[in-house]
Amino acid sequence: MTTAPLLEIENLSLAVPAAGLTIVRQASIAIAPGEIVGIVGESGSGKTMLGRAVIGLSPPPVKHAGGDIRYLGRAFSSMSEAELRSIRGTGVAMIFQEPMTSLNPSMTIGRQMEEGLALHGGITAPERRKRVLAMLERVGIGADERLLSAYPHEFSGGMRQRIMIASAMLLRPALLVADEPTTALDAVTQRDIMDLLVELTREHKTAVMLISHDLPMVARYAGRIVVMQNGSIVEQGLTSELLAAPQHDYTKRLLSSLPTRGPARPVAKGDALISVDKLVVEFRKNGGLFKRASTKAAVRNVSLDIRPGEVVAVVGGSGSGKTTLARAIAGLTTFQGGSVTFRGQAMSNGDAASRRDYRKHCHMVFQDPFSSLDPRMKVGALVGESLRALPEIPRSAHGRLIEEALVDASLDPILASRFPHELSGGQRQRVAIARALVRRPAFVIADEAVSALDVTVRAQILSLLAELQKKLDFACLFITHDLAVVEQIADRVIVMQDGVIVEEGSRDAILDNPSHPYTRKLLSAIPLLEPTTAGGLRLKWRHADAAMQ
């Protein structure tokens, strides 16, 4: 492009002087009008702080430490606070990650959206309402007058993010900073939102600074990609070139940690270890004085078998009932119908002894390692607690078993005397895995066990899980919304939608040849980076035909 850049970031450094940290080092990026630039990096890479600096919303401890940002050739440092404010909104707008908290819950949608127009536009009130409604219709919410007097809690997460986009785009900004705009949403909604965002910004010729940790997603929408690590830009270039021939080691590492398909394993044989038959889980909504109590079925008539040594993945969007299913199998939620059978013993009406037996052989790894480990217990005690329920193992053997489990999970046994808060996210998830495997369970439930982790850490944990699964040969129920994870680890895939199983089959059959439209839609929502013969990667669209359904 030959046009003058819209925004130039030049040798920008940001620091937290109080803590002696430099969080962004000498970053230089130029963004042309109408261009989509992706900023990719893991947590702590400084990508969010860079985005915040562009809109002038750095949190107070962060201080400017050199360099400058120029908007249409004018340096931010030479502008007064009033001038900066006039640029915010009309010049540069922002969309935040969490649509639940970025809309004011006590203000109606209409008033919230009008706020910006009233501040910047000098437009009359009826005209403002007309514009807001038109924009709401444009983002697919609808053009009903009544929507304006609705409150944020009346909308779902995806709808709220649409509203956020609508209110940012109302002012027709020249640059939109989108910080992880779809991370909190499930895959299908994520794709819808991103498509909408790109369409809208293209219509208004708005440039986008797309900040995300999700490299395939960014690669799909951005024309150029900037890779950040530890506050420095390590590489930037055209998306296709960067994918095909990454220069920097870190970029290569990022790309290679994207999940790839493991070899297909022979189908597990033998009797089912866990057998779920026509399971029904209902949630009661408490009625008030004047409201009748109602029930909502989260899982309806679900049947599945898991054989010893088999990895079964359950995938689905949010609200598909996959987590509820896992919790019911783990015995954390009571179910209203059907049965869960473990080695021929029914759990629903099982006596205490068989229940205890089940507990011994089943364990769970949770999503968030920050909350699944008791913050007041040391790592050794956390792992050792798992052995408490096994009286047949003498206490004298506990120390050795704990050490073995930590080593198995690739952790230094020295960490046994640390508290969870002293460990990194990846290390904590390893502790959770050690805790689950120290008692050699026959069956492990992993509920979104890698979703909260950074890309490179996620790859490590996944390969660790796969390796341990091979070594210890436990059956595993893997709950996830991330199909890339399925690709790497699952033998069999179950697809859920609205509480029912819509498709089920071997991994290769489901991923390569899905028959149910929902499965196709799920697959098409996730961009895939495919290795090329030249050694790089290129973007591949899966089942693009289903995308527009």
Partner: protein, 272 residues
């Protein structure tokens, strides 16, 4: 080396002085706090009576030291009663939910609905104005806030994954409550306990001032203050020193509570 926070330093010094006064006062005082000396009534602070004497010629320093013991004892026992009973009910209520929760919370709301001092006055009228009665009635009043705080914390912890993980491991509910839920309540409880300690000390003084505390002639800060009112224009030291003791102790406890909260709250720790 990190600098000691100012509130911890001042609070610590004040509380140490208070504790020392109370402890020494139990075994030794310059004079017998009850011994009257009509040769030296209402004498101002001097070399022989550092803080002066009251209308009966009793040494005020000795009386303050004995009173400190009473204050510390009653407030400590009140805190112990309120925290132990409140934690028990709070944990049971928050962890069991269902009907135990409903019964405990209803009774607790009834307790909360009464103005504290009024409730204590009523109870003391029944129980008699003894130290035991004061501790029991104040303990009951402050228990209700402990129940609230503990129940809220437990409700939050219940939803955390490590409590579920404990259930998945096959641990009993009692064990989970003891090993995982209770230790995580300690931080908010410590902060609340220090505030209760301050409230109890003030309430005990107020009750003594109103004549419903420990009966004269045994000295407490409250009844010393009450007795000195009549001599305000002749012997101002009789008002100043008990009042100063009460204020300094409360200030110390509150500062210490602030410091504890700062230390126990991990978010505050990061910022420091």
């Amino acid at each position: 080396m990190r600098r000691l926070p100012l509130n911890l330093l001042i609070g610590g010094v004040l509380i140490t002085v208070l504790a020392a006064m109370a402890l020494i006062g139990m075994v030794w005082t310059p004079y017998d706090p009850l011994a009257m000396n009509f040769a030296a009534t209402l004498s101002p602070p001097s070399a022989s009576h550092w803080l002066g004497t009251d209308e009966f010629g009793r040494d005020q320093l000795s009386r303050l030291m004995t009173g400190a013991g009473t204050s510390v004892r009653t407030s400590a026992l009140t805190v112990l009663l309120a925290v132990s009973a409140g934690t028990l009910f709070g944990v049971v209520s928050g962890f069991m939910r269902g009907w135990p929760d409903r019964i405990i919370m209803t009774l607790n709301d009834v307790l909360l609905a009464f103005p504290g001092l009024l409730f204590a006055l009523g109870l003391l009228a029944v129980l008699g104005a003894t130290e035991g009665g004061i501790i029991l009635s104040l303990g009951l009043i402050y228990m209700s806030s402990v129940v609230r705080v503990v129940r809220g914390t437990v409700l939050g912890l219940r939803a955390r994954e490590f409590v579920e993980a404990s259930a998945v491991m096959g641990n009993s509910r009692l064990y989970t409550m003891w090993r995982h839920v209770l230790p995580n309540c300690i931080a908010p409880l410590t902060v609340l306990a220090t505030s209760i300690c301050g409230w109890a000390m003030l309430a005990e003084s107020s009750l003594s001032f109103l004549g419903l505390g420990v009966a004269p002639p045994s000295p407490t800060w409250g009844n010393m203050l009450s007795g000195s009112r009549a001599f305000l224009d002749q012997a101002v030291w009789l008002v100043i020193f008990p009042g100063l003791s009460i204020s300094a102790s409360l200030l110390g406890i509150n500062l210490l509570g602030d410091a504890l909260r700062d230390m126990l709250d991990p978010r505050m720790r990061i910022r420091a």
